[in-house]
Symmetry: C2
Subunit: 501 residues, 2 copies
């Protein structure tokens, strides 16, 4: 046990370095004056290098070998994930780790300005470098079939792009006919009530009120404004979520806030005794996205939740919504309409946005798609998948931050998260049929309690796939998710059920 | 030169750790939810331990010995200050460094609440521990005459408490008669115009406008709100200053803002080629305070500066100041009146506040003053020095953050800074007699240029005493400062000159 204590001690310092980096990254996107960027990039790169050196040091390997742990204990989970982290990190030179971190920091403001000014040419060299570094990283990490797998594995341990292909094929098979059926019935202006002039302070106040009721603990976190919303945590008791406000469009900030609060509740719900260990965070990106998408969509875009919250929203915006009935509002937030921007997409077309990026990332990584052509390819694929063509790159390839910040391999986890969100929600409702009624009265304790008990508190203690099995009784499966979409949108658009052949 | 490069590389990583800690500390006082405190304290303690270990490691000592540098070069200064830092740090166990940092973090919210609730009993155990740790630190650092010297030396290298005693005696000899002479002439209500209802947003707007004109570069820094104002820097291009607002009293925030901007301009003015080295900060605490006090008082409370800014301030607060003539405002911001709170003190009585704390710190450190008696001793001394007794501890011993955050030995540097501020200002004006006229027209480039050239850009390159000599042609001397006070307040209160015997 002495080795285990030494290992824990070492990992607590590693954790301190990583949480410090998270604070620096959060500040970089929230409050840092832009001039501070180069020094910040340097500091982050050096912290990343120190953390990497600490992880791959022979001392860590020795402690891992020497630590004897009881199977099934927290310590055994610490040893398992640390060995995995160590073995992966050990394949990558420190200099590359530092370079990737430095690039991500320096790229962020360049992306912000390029997006603002609709200037893809200004962003292209940065994106080129992001993919060069990702390629180099994949080569060091190693992979069996495709380089992309090495990157995906960073976010979704033990999931391959072949598996993702399979899941995406299943999604397409039923979502494409569903979208087509809806298209025939859709009327223009279904979401007109969400456009107008919505005071930003009032948007913020309402958003905070809603996520507080969901269960995001504002005494153990905060909400700040950024260009591209994200969640990060400095401990379970200090979880930072971010959003952005569009004065002319209510849904953008509102659902971003709910989304990030879902991530935030996951981190706030990790068991206190995992604090300071490598287990103190979400199990994987897909698991994390399952929570953000669950609260954003399965709960946040349900009719039930708005039975409770809509009167309050009307009071917040009486001029804009006072005379709009709940039913029209509910249709507006669920209108299915091919959109240019992923984060504004409805539940039916959202996954198409993800598939587009997933395909492009593989093409960009392999070199099949040269960066110089990427904006055009993006627009072509948008026409292909969604039947609309971005009028400019800010609404096209420049909309997401991932290809600046180096998150190559992350996108598929949004779709996996969608799939899981419904599996989890269904299981919780099976065990607690009162959840629907509670939601309609603004009560979320039972649902949140189930999620905490079955997912949040475990942190990284179990492998993602193991955690899914424990929580739902089976593996990830697209059926429940597709059923949910067909049922929900079948009702909304008066479709004969089932739509799919 | 290879060793020197390796040393610089090592020190740049050390710098990254220290700047990261600064970001965490800044966040702790500005935005962190209070629940995040314990984990933050843990992370800061571990970062401090890592930085300490890196500094005292045998590798650092070897590189210092092996580095051959040209005398007078930047590298030689790096080796000099690193050797000093290393030798000091090597005497202190890592565990104590971590413990001091952990305590400072944990103590902060306890101090905030105790001050809010006027509850000295809640703060006493924290203060006890602060002094226990300080005593332990002093014993490890070592000293010749008094333990206090070891602590003072951390802030003011090579200055002893005996020297401080001498300087304080000189100050007392002329300030006590000056204060007495003023007391006879003072009328009540001299600063009534500063009390009222001053919109906080407008206070902030005006303060920002004023410090921007002084030369604080808001593109390379920010101003945030805190309980106890401070300045910190994450690089020369990211300097954070803080202030607090009192809606009922204009002077508190205004002069705090000018004070912190003075610190901030110093950090922003450090030469770019010192970035990432241990030279990239102010030369000492007294040097730093000389700059904050110069901009707060010598410039900020001068008649000249308000000839330019007062009309703007009147426009910001037309109801409160529209009909108040400049002369009355100038008298208000310079009214000499024993005050309970140090940061609100006038220039004449300010040093008495410092002396009180200086004496108390020595008594608390030696054990002569038990913490249990400290509030009473504070109040007695206030009566002794200033003829007023705090009605409660929030306006007494709980007003400053220093005895929570472990800054024992810092207070004297405010008085030393006062002394230096006038020496520097006089020298700049000797070389550039146009400075007075420029200030009266809202121009500060010549003054700032002189300070940058002679002080700011050098960072820690020269010893503080050496830097004073280079800039002023002589050592620190109280004469010019006392002459300045006697002249300024002689005119304001119509005293026969000289007041001192």
């Amino acid at each position: 046990m002495e080795s285990m204590e030494e290992l824990r001690e070492r990992l607590a310092s590693l954790e301190a370095l990583e949480r410090a980096s998270a604070v620096l990254s959060w500040d970089e996107e929230t409050y840092m004056p832009e001039a501070g960027g180069p020094a910040r990039a340097e500091h982050l790169a050096r912290l990343a290098a120190m953390a990497h050196d600490m992880l791959v040091a022979p001392e860590t390997a020795c402690l891992l070998d020497a630590s004897s742990v009881r199977p099934g204990s927290i310590d055994s989970a610490i040893v398992r994930v640390t060995r995995r982290d160590h073995d992966q990190a050990a394949r990558v030179p420190t200099s590359l780790v530092a370079e990737i971190q430095r690039h991500a920091s320096l790229a962020h403001p360049i992306w912000v300005h390029a997006r603002e000014r609709n200037d893809f040419a200004a962003f292209a060299p940065v994106m080129e470098k992001t993919f060069d570094l990702a390629r180099e990283l994949a080569e060091h990490l190693g992979y069996r079939a495709r380089a992309y797998d090495a990157l995906l594995d960073q976010f979704e341990p033990s999931t391959t792009s072949k598996e993702v292909d399979g899941i995406f094929a299943q999604l397409k098979a039923r979502l494409v006919p569903l979208a087509a059926a809806i298209r025939e019935r859709a009327r223009p202006g279904e979401d007109a009530v969400l456009h107008g002039d919505f005071d930003v302070a009032e948007q913020e106040r309402f958003g905070l009120q809603m996520i507080r009721k969901f269960g995001f603990d504002l005494a153990r976190g905060r909400l700040d404004q950024v260009v591209h919303p994200f969640e990060t945590s400095f401990s379970r008791d200090d979880v930072r979520i971010t959003t952005r406000y569009d004065r002319t469009y209510l849904a953008d900030s509102l659902f971003s806030t709910l989304h990030e609060a879902g991530h935030g509740m996951y981190e706030q719900g990790v068991a206190a005794d995992l604090e300071g260990t490598p287990l103190a965070s979400g199990a994987s990106s897909a698991l994390h996205e399952s929570q953000s998408r669950l609260w954003e969509n399965v709960v946040g875009r349900s009719l039930g939740v708005w039975q409770h919250f809509y009167p309050e929203l009307q009071r917040a915006f009486p001029g804009q919504l006072g005379s709009v009935p709940l039913d029209r509002f509910y249709r507006a937030i669920n209108r299915v309409k091919p959109s240019l921007v992923r984060v504004d997409a409805d539940e039916v077309t959202y996954n198409l946005h993800v598939m587009l990026r997933y395909e492009m990332e593989q093409g960009l990584l392999s070199g099949e798609i040269p960066v110089a052509d990427a904006a055009r390819v993006w627009n072509d694929k948008m026409e292909d998948y969604l039947g609309i063509r971005p009028p400019d790159n800010s609404l096209g390839i420049l909309q997401d931050t991932h290809w600046a910040s180096g998150l190559i391999g992350y996108f598929p986890t949004y779709a996996l998260g969608n799939v899981l969100s419904v599996q989890f929600f269904n299981r919780a409702r099976e065990e607690h049929p009162e959840i629907d009624e509670e939601i309609a009265t603004g009560e979320f304790a039972t649902l949140r309690g189930w999620l905490e008990e079955n997912i949040y508190r475990h942190g990284r203690r179990f492998d993602p796939q193991d955690l899914v099995r424990r929580a739902t009784g089976g593996p990830m499966a697209t059926g429940p998710y597709l059923d949910y979409l067909e049922r929900k949108f079948g009702v909304l658009y008066g479709l004969s059920s089932p739509v799919s052949p």
